[in-house]
Symmetry: C5
Subunit: 88 residues, 5 copies
């Protein structure tokens, strides 16, 4: 999984019907120093993550292993809200 921060939201009216009702969050990758990287993805939110929260997201076929995303055309999903991380 990748460490990221939710920085915004995407709105889309015309979309694959399997995406209806899913919240699409903009998630920027986060460095171990806590700084935002430029790289970002649009991830489906399966845990109620709000803008500003630090999260983990899974990619690829693993992103379809949540109840919300199973068999859907989704390749990135937020799976956890991070309380803290330690590096030594």
């Amino acid at each position: 999984m990748i460490l990221g921060k939710v920085v915004g939201t995407v709105w889309a009216t015309r979309k694959d019907e399997q995406l209806v009702g899913m919240k699409l969050q903009l998630v920027r990758e986060l460095g171990l120093d806590g700084k935002l990287k430029s790289k970002f993805v649009v991830a489906v939110d399966s845990v109620g993550a709000g803008v500003g929260e630090t999260v983990l997201f899974a990619q690829g076929s693993s992103a379809r292993q949540t109840e919300l995303t199973r068999n859907k055309p989704v390749d990135a999903v937020i799976t956890a809200i991070v309380d803290k991380f330690d590096t030594k």
Copy 2:
């Protein structure tokens, strides 16, 4: 998913028969600042996205989870036309 803009179209007469009838769009990645990146993919269009539209595309096995692309040799599919995105 990745944020992109449709910038063109690819024509191919000789191709895997499973691709017949699919529209192949050139999609450049888009930054959060709205500027085009140099990175691009060729994605199957499942939502009727035209040149100039901002879209989301899914990659990998998730690109085969639309009705149009199921079990096809397709690794990128446009799944949504973006109305707007907000970053805070």
Copy 3:
């Protein structure tokens, strides 16, 4: 899919038996400006693409969705020969 140009061929006698009989082409990625990039892959050819031709190739599990490559240890396959591409 990725836009590329076939630039050569790979010969391998000792290989997984599932690869026997497959043509292994060197494919360099192509920019929208028509210039070759340094990045390249070795892709199985499922459409009879010769050296010098512009092609599309699919990667990952999607590369196993052609008749030739199904269930084979192949992660890149040429799926189309490009007639032309337009960008606006």
Copy 4:
């Protein structure tokens, strides 16, 4: 698989229920010169790897092929603790 070093741990209370009980380790990629790279992932630990240990991790759908991670929304898993590696 990728060579890495465990450099820390991630704590997350609110998460997909399938992740409950899994240890989430921060793993930085390691060069052949033994130096840490800046690139890192958050990987589920399936072998009891502690901070400071050199490990191998698998990514993508292959990360779901351990007993611990099967069918879970996990895209990176530590599969081995490295005793040593030689390069010639």
Copy 5:
């Protein structure tokens, strides 16, 4: 597939039991000019490739399509020993 050269071996005693008996090779990517790149992976060897040999390796779920690696937590496998490659 990616063109690479076997440059070394990894030893790991504590590992996922599904990896027992597999040879883990360090494989550096090779450029079309025959020069080693810095990027490398740890790949399971399914064809008896020794250090110094030029090989092809497959990644992702395709790396699990050999007899040796099926359903194993392996995301990179050497599938061929390269006799030669030509570029024009």
